[in-house]
């Protein structure tokens, strides 16, 4: 600290030049740090692609479009990822059906109706929900939800896609709530004032003016939430029973793409067809979540709402 005063006078003498060179240096450094994440995403695509690519030659990408996932069969191995896609689809659809209406309504309430005190209580709890590790949510599902669903629907077993979907809804809701809430808050006050001034009730204003005006932000929130749902692994691995059935019935056991990778990656031998097939599943997952993120970002950008 004692040497600092000595350096100050020199910078006072030529503030502009020093400022320029220093700022340039800092800027370069920060750009380098910031772009590592781009580099990492690029490298992930590159290396996953590299591991998956040989599958296209032998046994060929056509092998993926079968309805049997039996990668360790001792008779004939089969790498049909259609049941895995249907599995991911079932849990994602259920999660969306629950989390979207729930999340949007909660966001509307927090942004438009809640008193400051309610906000103070609600918001930290929603953020807390986002921070619960998925394995803990999975554990909760296994102990509480699986027996509950089994009894409720008179099923033979509670290990179903439905339980997976409900748990994923719990994980997607915080994302949807916080981003939707921001979107609703950013609707100009003048819209609401105009609506109330021409005699619309508070409820009418919320549903017919505020929410439609914030729709783009809400859509982006939904897509980011769904992105998290598709990529989630641990909770679904624990509660869905992991049978690779080709089904859209939520009361059946399902095997998701993520659970398949997590369960099988440890065992396979490096460079085998099974190994390549799992990387193909990985690419499909990556492209799906990447696509959802890009669409969400475009929607946000179109309406000039951050990011």
């Amino acid at each position: 600290m004692s040497s600092n005063p000595a350096t100050f006078p020199s910078s006072i003498n030529s503030p502009t030049r020093n400022k320029l060179s220093k700022e340039k240096l800092i800027e370069l450094g920060l750009i380098a740090i910031a772009s590592t994440s781009i580099l990492i995403v690029g490298l992930i695509f590159l290396f996953i692609g590299k591991e998956a690519a040989p599958f296209a030659l032998e046994p060929g990408l056509g092998a993926l479009f079968s309805d049997t996932w039996a990668p360790t069969s001792m008779m004939k191995e089969s790498f049909g990822i259609l049941p895995l896609i249907s599995g991911s689809l079932v849990v994602t659809l259920i999660a969306s059906l629950i989390a979207v209406p729930f999340g949007v309504c909660a966001a509307v309430y927090i942004a438009e109706v809640a008193t400051p005190l309610e906000q103070k209580i609600l918001k930290p709890f929603i953020e807390l929900l986002a921070g619960i590790p998925s394995v803990v949510i999975g554990f909760f599902g296994l102990i509480v939800l699986v027996p509950f669903i089994k009894a409720g629907f008179h099923l033979d077993s509670g290990l179903t896609g439905l339980v997976g979907g409900i748990l994923l809804a719990l994980m997607a809701a915080p994302t949807i709530i916080s981003i939707s809430e921001d979107a609703i808050r950013s609707v100009p006050l003048s819209y609401k004032e105009a609506s109330l001034a021409i005699g619309a009730s508070r409820l009418e204003t919320i549903w017919k003016i505020t929410v439609p005006a914030a729709m783009s932000g809400i859509m982006a929130a939904v897509m980011l939430g769904i992105g998290r749902v598709i990529g989630e692994t641990m909770a679904v691995l624990m509660v869905t029973g992991n049978a690779a059935l080709m089904t859209l019935n939520p009361l059946e056991s399902v095997r998701t793409m993520t659970a398949t990778i997590a369960a099988e990656m440890g065992e396979i031998s490096f460079g085998s067809e099974h190994y390549r097939a799992l990387f193909c599943v990985g690419i499909l997952l990556l492209v799906t979540t990447f696509g959802l993120n890009i669409v969400a970002r475009q929607v946000l950008k179109k309406y000039r709402m951050g990011a």
Binding site: I12, A243, E267
Partner: protein, 301 residues
């Protein structure tokens, strides 16, 4: 006017320097790691990875072994027999524990990498077929088990039980138990697609305990510990013969039809510490622990 700007610049610079020096120290730390005493002590570290079935057994061994040999640290992880064997080939573990023998595929892979792997039988296990306690079915034949697990039989009625669907529980495909069952009971045919694959043996026990129609398979150790919450089915080698329950005697005299050997797998030239552990495992003390853990000791040659 100027002061805030300068302070801001300074703090940014400090941050930048901090980040850069972080990178440097991180780089140095990695280089240094090879020379630290911790790495030298690594000579006396033995890691054992593999079979979930054997995790209890190997941990008990490790505990007892470290008592008498305090200069060797043993760490034990599960993950499945296949996981352990690939880890052994990739050089990330010293010993693999496996509830099945090496597959031909694994042998060729090891040969490609210039490795010879030694399988050392260290115990026997009777694979127990378990059902819900409310289920009146007391025994199944091997042929019935095969038909159930491949999906040809789907209701308990077809095997003399109540009219309810059979819920098939299996381990994940990374499990040695999965592969053993597929080879010896399913005769290499595929599991039924509606088999629910559980990430752990305890998961199968929980599911079978909860679901009236549940049917699964686990190691004898797991099954015996869960007695009361599940019941162990007898297995008939063929339709006419009497059912055999998995016990120490029936597994050792080979009358129980789904028994298997448990192995420790080591590279052709194991480290001194790994060799010591294997020698201990097949010694009298080691085999006592096999028995205490609910498995069956190997007969000494």
């Amino acid at each position: 006017m100027h002061r805030p700007w300068r302070l801001e610049t300074l703090s940014t610079l400090t941050l930048l320097i901090a980040v850069i020096s972080l990178f440097f120290t991180a780089g140095c730390a990695r280089k240094d790691a090879a020379h630290t005493p911790a790495a030298k002590a690594g000579v006396n570290m033995v890691t054992i990875k593999g079979s979930d079935t054997m995790v209890h057994l190997v941990s008990s061994w490790a505990e007892d072994f470290m008592k008498t040999t305090p200069d060797i640290q043993v760490s034990v992880t599960g993950g499945g027999s296949g996981t352990g064997i690939s880890a052994l080939m990739n050089g990330t573990t010293d010993i693999a524990s496996s509830s099945r023998d090496l597959s031909d595929k694994e042998k060729t892979q090891a040969a490609q990498k210039g490795l010879t792997l030694k399988e050392i039988p260290v115990g026997l296990d009777g694979l127990s077929v378990i059902a819900n306690p409310s289920n009146p079915v007391k025994a199944l034949s091997l042929a019935q088990l095969k038909d159930i697990f491949t999906g040809k039989i789907t209701t308990w009625k077809a095997v003399g039980g109540p009219d309810m669907p059979i819920l098939v529980y299996s381990r994940e495909s990374s499990s040695g138990t999965y592969a053993f069952f597929q080879e010896h009971v399913l005769q290499k045919q595929n599991y039924t697609k509606s088999a629910r694959l559980m990430p752990a043996s305890s998961g199968i026990v929980e599911a079978v305990a909860a679901d009236e129609g549940g049917l699964g398979y686990v190691g004898l150790d797991y099954a015996e510990k869960a007695q009361g919450r599940i019941h162990i089915l007898g297995v008939k080698p063929d339709a006419e013969s009497t059912a055999v329950m998995p016990t120490v005697e029936t597994v050792q005299n080979k009358s129980y039809p789904i028994a298997r050997e448990l192995y420790l797998i080591v590279p052709g030239k194991p480290s001194e510490a790994a060799q010591k552990f294997v020698t201990y495992a097949i010694s009298k003390e080691g085999q006592n622990i096999v028995q205490q853990s609910g498995y069956i000791p190997v007969q000494h040659q």
